[in-house]
């Protein structure tokens, strides 16, 4: 009895600390995918994969490192920490091997930018209500 209580408490605590779906990966309607693999999502947000399967250029939008939604993207969707992504970007940008993502200041700006930019990918805390933007499931 005591053990099942303990398990229930631990599960509840885990559920509270890792709320599912706290961040959604979004893309411009032009992006020719409905879902994206974990490896590919890491490569896209890591600025290493630069083209979609149809050959079009990927445009990556991000929030500032300190934004909680950015933290949620890293930990819950990409399974890494924000500092790792930042270090990886810096090494690529300052050795000329890749370009930086486009940083936007807020989720409102994120939605507007992804909606307006062909090939764009980004993320929001909740699924967007915008016909020019779709949710990409990371699998």
């Amino acid at each position: 009895m005591a053990i099942s209580h303990l398990i229930a408490t631990v599960l509840f605590a885990l559920f509270l600390s890792f709320p599912a779906g706290a961040v959604e990966v979004i893309a411009n309607k032009s992006v020719p995918l409905a879902k994206i693999s974990l490896g590919s999502a890491r490569a896209v947000f890591g600025m290493r994969q630069v083209k979609w399967p149809d050959g079009s250029l990927i445009r990556v939008f991000v929030l500032p490192d300190s934004n909680p939604v950015h933290g949620a993207l890293c930990k819950e969707r990409l399974n890494l920490y924000p500092y790792q992504l930042r270090q990886s970007w810096d090494r690529l940008i300052f050795s000329g091997m890749a370009q930086a993502p486009i940083e936007v200041a807020s989720e409102a700006e994120m939605l507007a930018s992804v909606a307006a930019t062909p090939g764009a990918i980004g993320y929001l805390a909740r699924p967007p209500q915008n016909e020019k933007v779709k949710v990409l499931n990371v699998e």
Binding site: G39, K51, R59, D65, L80, I93, G96
Partner: protein, 402 residues
């Protein structure tokens, strides 16, 4: 001399700030054309010996790095990148602006899980975790790089060099694997290399000839597990240069190749608050002109603790031996001038605060035994016992990037 120096700094500053101010406009116009840069100033105090300028019993202000890069991606298959760099490091580097890298990259194959590309031009050489961006403070694990692996006196062996590079990546669910192979001709025009490899026994000067770079190659493969929570790397290569005597024998050393065959292992564990990093390197050195060969060895282990948002602290232990079978230096006493020049062992303690995403302030304390990381150019009088083999160093650094 001073005026020329000052004018040069002012010019580079204007260039950097001007480009920095121009950056948002460019980014706002078209993100396929990007400008980034960095400016770092380091202050040095040592209780003995000079590091990066005149630091002994005072404050050295001669360590500075300024870089600006531009990149353009006309479409998803091509990337053009170039970076200009000015670096000041006491007598070792005088701030002459130079091209750090400039190359064209063409994608040969790309899908969701695999990528293959080729680069032509002045390409950056991956070596260990940090070599490709060794002059960019924000990418370093401390104020200066661990000298046991990234010895600044030998930086030219691993810098960008004219050549060709092939790069591949594979992404899986649980792992990522990337590799790079570069064939280059190293830039051997560097007084530090003359000091290191062409010393004249019993004197403080080097031989009168010069080095020309030879055909060289460097390779690296890096395995990331679980999004880089574990990183395992192997870097290796064969880099060389040829000594061209200035005087006929017996007044100079004979012509000959100096080759370095390094192997470096990298292991990193990334946790949310803590990162553990260790790198171990061995390099076979063959000097035909002096008819000697030996094996250099170096390693470091570092723990970095992100104890609050925007704050981190680190502790590092490192050691380098120019000749691993002769750690106390006796075998080449006459060449290495005195004991202690052949090795360096340090404890390093540091802290960094990111005031903003662009500006970081750092402090680092070194407790050193040995002299391997010191430049003879900054310490011109070792014979008169000016070197002290146990010494301490405090570094303060402000680093800006955009």
């Amino acid at each position: 001399m001073w005026n020329e120096f000052r004018n040069r700094i002012a010019g580079l500053l204007c260039l950097g700030v001007g480009l920095g101010l121009g950056c948002p406009a460019l980014a706002g116009g078209d993100d396929r054309l990007q400008l980034h840069g960095f400016l770092t100033q380091t202050l040095v105090h040592t209780d003995a010996n000079n590091f990066g300028g005149e630091s002994e019993d005072g404050v050295g202000v001669d360590m500075r790095e300024l870089g600006v890069n531009i990149s353009f991606r006309p479409d998803s298959d091509w990337l053009l990148s170039a970076q200009g760099l000015a670096r000041w490091a006491g007598e070792m580097d005088d701030g002459d602006p130079r091209v750090d890298y400039a190359f064209v990259e063409r994608s040969l194959y790309a899908d969701e899980a695999h990528r293959l590309s080729v680069s032509l031009g002045n390409v950056k050489n991956p070596y260990g975790l940090y070599n490709t961006t060794r002059d960019v403070a924000h990418t370093r694990p401390g104020v200066i790089l661990p000298q046991a692996i990234y010895l600044d006196r030998m930086r030219n062996f691993f810098l960008a060099a004219p050549g060709m590079s092939l790069r591949g990546e594979h992404e899986g669910m649980r792992h990522g694997l990337n590799w790079q192979l570069s064939t280059v001709r190293m830039e051997a025009d560097d007084p530090e290399l003359d000091y290191l490899f062409m010393p004249i026994p019993g004197s403080t000067v080097n031989a009168p000839g010069h080095f020309d770079g030879s055909g060289s190659w460097l390779a690296q493969t890096m395995l990331d597990l679980d999004g880089g929570q574990w990183r395992l790397g192997l870097s290796f290569g064969d880099v060389g240069m040829r000594y061209k005597p200035a005087l006929p024998q017996p007044f100079d050393y004979p012509s000959g190749k100096v080759t370095l065959k390094p192997v470096t292992l990298t292991l990193q564990r990334n946790l949310e608050k803590v990162t553990f990093t260790a790198e171990f390197s061995r390099a076979k050195v063959d000097n035909e002109s002096l008819a000697i060969n030996f094996v250099s060895q170096g390693w470091y282990a570092q723990a970095t603790w992100r104890f609050r948002p925007r704050w981190e602290a680190w502790l590092r232990n490192e050691a380098i031996y120019f000749d691993k079978d002769n750690k106390n230096g006796s075998r080449y006493d006459s060449l290495l001038l005195e004991r202690g020049l052949g090795h360096s062992k340090s404890w390093v303690l540091g802290v960094r605060h990111d005031l903003t995403a662009q500006l970081a302030l750092s402090a680092e304390l070194h407790s050193v035994n040995g002299l391997a990381m010191l430049s003879p150019a900054d310490n011109p009088d070792p014979v008169n016992d000016r070197f002290s083999s146990n010494w301490n160093m405090l570094l303060l650094q402000a680093a800006y990037r955009f």
